[in-house]
């Protein structure tokens, strides 16, 4: 095990290479996933706020518009 970790004396260069790659790729993935989640919840909240309050047809009641809102 110690022999494996020493990488023939190059452990100090090999492991930081892999470590840095792993850290950057994981951080980029997590921030991307988190950004998507935050934006999606903002969108759902705004849709719930604006959706029912914008009637298009002048004659319709709000109940008709609600059918449009729940397709997603």
């Amino acid at each position: 095990m110690a022999e494996f970790l020493s990488m023939g004396g190059y452990g100090a260069y090999v492991w930081p290479s892999y470590g840095l790659t792993a850290v950057i790729m994981v951080v980029l993935l997590i921030t991307s996933l988190r950004g998507l989640k935050t934006t999606e919840s903002t969108f759902q909240r705004l849709k719930a706020e604006t959706g029912p309050r914008t009637p298009r047809a002048p004659s319709s009641e709000n109940t008709e518009e609600a059918a449009n809102g729940d397709e997603a």
């Binding site: 990488m7 840095l20 993935l29 996933l33």
Partner: protein, 240 residues
């Protein structure tokens, strides 16, 4: 709203494809890393330090691949004004920048024991550093305008102009004397690298590519949803 017909369909497809991309990426990384550390032999000159290659080379390839993808998407956005193209180019930039940075950093960690220096100002390294600056410039330019459309246009032009750097990177090892070794995989007369080293390298390279697809899908979905949020906000301001 018909302008978003296409992105809406994309959102649906992306939602299905994303978990598959994740699964394929993890499987490729597991296989590639196992082979890189346990089945691939040490190099007869470089010893165990050669294992840095299995992250360094895929990162460098992807740094260039992402830039090419970003430049093509920018061209499509400028010429045909396709709404997804702009979004795809914008979503690619931080991933490409991350790969380019990793190529430079792991190259530095490989250069120290092999060349005796962290950095030299030779053609391959310098052109790769310019690639990183192009990515950073692209992202900075995008946020530099109050008008989002103008920022997108300016950065798309920068992406296209910067594409001349790609052939310079590729051929830098042939055109100039450099410490960096010449190509040993993508060559006219076939790879000059042993299959025991080539296979883990290729598997890692494909893993890096599917990782890019995975993150790209996530970021494009985020961008499209952010556009919808902006439209709803405008609606609130004008219709409320």
């Amino acid at each position: 709203m018909h302008r978003f017909a296409n992105p809406t369909r994309f959102l649906k497809i992306a939602g299905y494809v994303q978990p598959w991309m994740a699964a394929v990426t993890l499987a490729l990384f597991a296989t590639g890393l196992y082979m890189a550390f346990f089945t691939a032999p040490p190099d007869y000159q470089q010893g165990e330090s050669v294992r840095i290659m299995y992250v360094h080379v895929p990162a460098a390839w992807m740094g260039m691949f992402c830039y090419a993808a970003m430049a093509i998407a920018s061209a499509v956005a400028l010429i045909w004004k396709h709404p997804l193209a702009d979004v795809a180019a914008k979503a690619t930039a931080p991933v490409g920048a991350a790969f380019t940075f990793l190529a430079l950093a792991t190259g530095s960690l490989w250069g120290k024991p092999m060349w005796g220096t962290w950095w030299v100002w030779d053609a391959r390294l310098t052109s790769m550093l310019i690639l990183l600056f192009l990515y950073i410039g692209y992202m900075a330019l995008q946020g530099a305008f109050d008008d989002r459309a103008r920022g997108a246009k300016a950065s798309a032009v920068l992406a296209l102009v910067g594409a001349v750097n790609l052939p310079i990177i590729k051929f830098s090892v042939d055109w100039w004397n450099t410490l960096h070794q010449p190509a040993s995989v993508i060559k006219m007369d076939g790879p000059s690298i042993h299959p025991d080293m080539l296979w883990p390298l290729l598997i890692m390279a494909v893993g890096f590519k599917t990782y890019y697809m995975w993150v790209l899908l996530v970021r494009i979905r985020q961008e499209i949803t952010a556009n919808k949020v902006r439209i709803l906000r405008l609606k609130q301001v004008h219709g409320g």
